[in-house]
Symmetry: C2
Subunit: 175 residues, 2 copies
């Protein structure tokens, strides 16, 4: 007898190399690892909850080329950001659909570390999966790591999945 589905929250982000809507190597890896090692063939036993946090300033470079003349321009910007985030989520939702695993996904804006922990508190998943670039201590100081913060501050159990060595880009800060 199986009880309620195990609810797995996965925090996903975009590729730093290819940009939206492509998922980062570590998000993709975290998800695929969870499918392969935890869900396995028991597709009805689990439900994925995908969260993507839009970082307000991250698109600053593009915005330089935009003209903001009316409140509507800002609305469009907001919509464009949302659309990008949604296309990223689409990747994971499509994968789940292909495999036949239940899922939900949603966007939030803000600082990923804080928002992921707050959302984990709100939706109360059974556990949270976060991808990690697996950076060494030196690199970490400069780029910050979402996974470490979550592992420390999230109220639910957290499992951090590192990228495989053979997937690590030339600059390991890329993802």
């Amino acid at each position: 007898m199986e009880g309620e589905q195990t609810r797995i929250m996965v925090a996903v982000n975009q590729s730093t190399i290819k940009g939206y809507p492509h998922p980062s190597i570590s998000s993709k890896r975290a998800f695929e690892w969870t499918l392969q090692k935890i869900v396995r063939s028991n597709t009805s036993g689990f439900k994925f909850l995908f969260l993507h946090v839009l970082v307000p300033d991250e698109d600053g470079f593009d915005d330089v080329d935009s003209i903001f003349a009316s409140p509507d321009d800002f609305k469009e910007l907001k919509q464009r950001d949302n659309a990008r985030g949604l296309h990223l989520l689409e990747y994971f939702v499509t994968r789940c659909h292909e495999i036949g695993v239940a899922c939900e996904s949603w966007l939030k804006k803000g600082d990923p570390t804080e928002v992921i922990c707050l959302e984990a508190k709100r939706v109360q998943p059974d556990f949270l999966v976060v991808g990690s670039r697996g950076l060494g201590p030196f690199k970490k100081v400069f780029v910050g790591t979402v996974s470490e913060f979550c592992a420390k501050h999230a109220e639910c159990p957290v499992i951090t999945i590192k990228r495989r060595e053979d997937e690590t880009p030339e600059d390991p800060v890329d993802d």
Copy 2:
């Protein structure tokens, strides 16, 4: 199609209240959580690897009452420690047997934090589950936490499972 079993290493220890062969509240919780949330009904998809680390000095109090007069006395001591540890492992192996999940278990002596990480490196599980008393930062300073060390230093993914509030003993350092 299911590939190779997912190998879950679980570090277990004895109850600080009832002593050997009783498992600690947090070890038991970590194991039961893994069964309920990860293994679920897919008992053939997983294999548990239970490690118990015997801490050489932990039995110091009993040893005061023992007389060590010949090398054999020391051998007996060693055997007694091993027997205690084995009876602890028996608890988990019996549970697995009842449920029908494959498992292996073994003892090691040493400092739990180091030994768990070394053994994780040696046996290369898919992930490591460690129970945690969920102590606040103040208590942690005095008692040290195996789970935090493992989460930081083990090479494989680590999932830390906290005790439930309603299972926490009067003195939260107890387990």
